[in-house]
Subunit: 127 residues, 2 copies
DNA sequence: CATTTACTGAACCTTTCGGTAAACTATTGG
DNA sequence: CCAATAGTTTACCGAAAGGTTCAGTAAATG
């Protein structure tokens, strides 16, 4: 699977509150499928589909022990998604900092907001 | 919209390579719908649907000027998604650090890997 | 005014998503 | 051995995703 496809799967997996809850639950430690199902008013097959989607996205590892299946978290793909977001937010913040610098350098006439508010400039970009 | 729903929309919006490319493009500065469509071998209505999904997720703001529509990025929802991932990865790293500490404290008999490798322990959790 | 340009809307198609019910497999425990 | 438990598979459903085509609207432009 390419990086892009892997990221597709990761973001898609996290785009559902049921699955995000499961990730949070697994952060506390391993859990069986039944334990993951417990808080939800949902049939087992429905739960299974969610778990499988997490497994396919590489976020969860399953291990069968007798008749029970224990699930464990593998945060590596989440790390990639986080890195993608981080990279973009950093870029954005640099843009805003450059805008700040620009405004500071030209603060002869008009007083501007921002420098705390991080609001979006509704005029042209300065970078 | 609740926080959870907003995060659903954000993650779902980013779960598509076309839309991730659009976000990257908009990071460079504003763009019209046509400019966003340009690199894709895709009909305009298809592009429109992607743009609208980004707008509905709050990631993009549209402003009509004459007959063209300029799109601008609003990274606030991305910030929320990033924070969610960050929180969870931090939690996970703390767990691994605790495991390191545990292993260091009990390193009488067995030599273990990790402390660099960040591999997943296949036995019970220590936290 | 006529035509291109830029976007929008509506209808349609196929695949995936999120769920169900019911039947099945394989442990585990009495 | 029998029954409860844990999980899986299959078939089905309605809604949403991601795409298409074709027609429509409204602003620029010759």
């Amino acid at each position: 699977m390419t990086d892009s496809q892997s990221m597709d799967a990761t973001f898609a997996a996290l785009a559902d509150p049921t699955r995000r809850w499961m990730v949070e639950r697994l952060l506390q430690g391993e859990a069986t499928v039944s334990e993951l199902a417990e808080p939800f008013d949902m049939s087992m097959p429905a739960v299974l589909k969610h778990v499988n989607k997490l497994v396919e996205a590489g976020l969860v590892i399953r291990e069968k022990q007798g008749r029970t299946v224990t699930c464990a978290l593998n945060p590596a793909p989440m790390d990639d998604a986080q890195a993608w977001l981080q990279k973009h937010l950093d870029f954005w913040n640099n843009r805003l900092d450059a805008l700040d610098a620009y405004l500071a350098q030209h603060k002869d006439a008009d007083d501007h907001d921002r420098a705390d508010g991080r609001n979006i400039p509704d005029d042209k970009t300065y970078l």
